[in-house]
Amino acid sequence: MRSTRRDWLRMAGGAGLASLQSRLLAGFEDWFQPATTAPDEQVLITACGICDSACGIRATVKDGVVRFLEGLPDDFQGQGKLCGKGAAGAGFLYDPDRLKYPMKRTNPRKGLNEDPGFIRISWQEALDTIADRIRSYRARHGPESLLFLTRPSPDVWVRFMRALGVVNRVDHRDECFQSDLVVQRYTIGGKPWGNDFENSRYILLFGFDMVTKTKLAHAHGVLAAKQRGAKVVLFNPEFNTTARLADEWYPIRPGADLAVALAMIHVIVNENLFNQEFVDRFTNFRQYEREIRDHFARYTPEWAEGLSDVPAEAVRRIAREFATQGPAIVPMHKKALAANYMNATQLAHAISILNILAGTIDRPGGRYFARTVSIPGVDAIYPPPAYPRVEGRRVDGTDKLPLVREVECGSFSTLADGMLNKYPGMIKFAFWNTYTLLGFPHPSQMEEALRRVEFTVVMDTLPTDTALLADIVLPSVTYLESSDLVPREYSARTPQVVVRQPVVPAMFETRSIGWVAIELGKRLVPEYFRTPTGEWISPAALLDERVKRAGLGSSFAEFRSVGIHTRQQPFTPRTTFATPSGKCQIYVPEFAARGYDPLPVWKPKAEQPSAEYPYYYLTFIPAIHRRNSTQNNPILHEIMPTNAAIISRTLAHRLGIREGQMVRIRSRMGAIELPAHLSETLRPDCVMVAHGFGHRTRMLSLAGGQGVRDGDVIPSRAIEEYVAAGNFGGAGCIMDAVVNIEPL
């Protein structure tokens, strides 16, 4: 067909199209140009950006269009595979609903049911307006009036916020792994992202669907270990995918994981089953032996059985096996039910102790610190002037949780309380980067808080509910249009870096958050955005410098043509740890010095079943989705378009609920109505609802109006509750709700 067309076109117009007959067609020249590119096909290496695992990708690109995504064979993280989300990645890139151009609001009334009256504006106008607002609020109300809801990356964005003296930067990690981050800093000297399941002989999982709801590297690891004969034990209220391959599964009572972990420590310490060599050489056990032995004496398996429904004999046996049949490992990570109860800080400490007693910290078969290529940040490459002192009030109240401040996290769960009740009117300006209202417990409360902010900027790839409340919307690139260097963390016994490169040019007028940071920085804090020779910092030059200094090549262009770098080196276990004492700390004196428990103590979850609310409410992220950001992907939408209330058949029979029947789930916070899905996989005192659904905006043509928001029945919190409950790691408490269920 192509030759036919060429033929007639040649006949019609010689070289291309014939001369213009109409003045109206003069505009053609504005929209078309002589063809300069020829059809081509290439395979490019890049890194996924859907979750932090960032698995390596081979992207087949033909004629400037992504045709196929597959795993990168040499990548440690994905091990040549992609998960369902990763394989469907082009669906994010080519979503017709994408935000395409900067826009500004023309309707001053804000609300999910208000038409913002957006109009398209230039990037210049958007950036100038945002800079003016920040400048004005900062001068009149101080840096505490600025709220940034964003992950702490990229580093130029961090530089921008630090240069402004931003006090209130908040991210979602309290609903993820924050308590583990806080605790392990003091117990083993940092959070290890690596779990060496491949070499484990005993894998113990608390509230964790490791095989389907975690990183591909970890799922591969558990499966490989299982094939080699490792034992897998799971405590979880739901018989999930991991339970299907586990050797033992216990339907534990929600929130009682801590009791079982404490009882296991009791058994191991009481019977001296711990790894003597490791414990004596690398921990502070002997220094605090009496305190430790006395402390755990009370937590017997019989005591734990009464709280957890796990038989005492099973707890005792599993503890013995764990201590003697290793290498043994207990991972703790996000997406685990256990990481999200009010008592998760104590649980993180208990789990850390179990790993220490097993003697597998940074050892084969245990949790280990990633061996990475050192990639210098912007501050190392272009040292900044001194940053201003961070002064002001924390709107989320985390100034009452100093250890949370040390790891520079925040608290989603207490943010609305701070904005509405503690410090009303304090936040004048908010910048949201890729977070949505759905990510918060009790999203309506957060909506109300956001509605009262004078000026809000939302940067995202999709028009989320949050965008509806924005004064300016900025269109973001997807990971398939971005540049970065991504070191391996989840599977990194030897260092490896994978490139992230734009496999296609950025569509429409989308930009990266790093570019925005630099452009805003030039306008607001220019002294922080110049190189030592006085030029503006450029993303491209910064990447080139990183590549050079990390020893990956002479330029980013060179490294992107290679795509992956692996440095062969032996795995040498650590003998000193980055804690204050240099040892693994079972007893944490720094906790005691702050008035916290130096050893983990039993605390119940925040809310217990009652006559009014007799059931535990659990929420989960389905394997096929990532939080609340993938529901508009056509493939993932087709696989799982909506959510339902998962209820055990036993409970459903008792309540007279049939499959598919609408039910109302009500907590002290609110109610949701959705169809019931009956299952044999759940404890009869629980109901489970998948997170990520219930987008209100019709802007998302597939996800909009589908399902309900799980968070509508989850209470938001006041920081005082955390302090009173000993939740000094700031765990987000999104699993603590109790509810009533009634058929409709």
């Binding site: 007639w8 291309g16 002589p34 935000l99 965008a467 597939l702």
Partner: protein
Amino acid sequence: MPLPAAPWYAFAGTALLTTDSQQLAGLLEQLRGEIVEDEAAEARIRRLADALPSEALALEKEYTRLFLNPTGSPCALWQSAYSEMSQLMGPAHDSALEWYRAAGVEPARSNEPADHAGLLLMFFARLLDSGADPNELSRFRREHLVWLEKLADCVERHTALPFYRELMALLRWLVSVEEI
């Protein structure tokens, strides 16, 4: 029925690529000067000109609302979005790019998918203007213009702005002519 003249397609394409009321009003004036078809054409131009909003931002707001998402059902401007998968850069994009390249051109803005309704109309106007073979015109129409009925359906369902309603009426007329 004879095929409408190329300037009609050029105008429709431009109106789907820009929200500059003044520019569109100017193009309608040019159209009036160039088109001497009949009274119906004259009436069509008058209706479009009369429907152009006087408020400076009205067109911009409605264009953003209809085509660039925020609030309301989106009416995508890209042919691929109307395929089964409802994704950008689908087979329609590839085909459009092939047509353009065969003519020795390509979209000037590399970040704009080639199957944008405005680009397709503009390109068809150019083909028509350059006296292309009727069979090829017919084939382009089948492959890349017929779907505009769906766009018109969507816009008519979701807009009350007279200009876009008139524009969709124009679009339906331009697409409805089968004999080339």
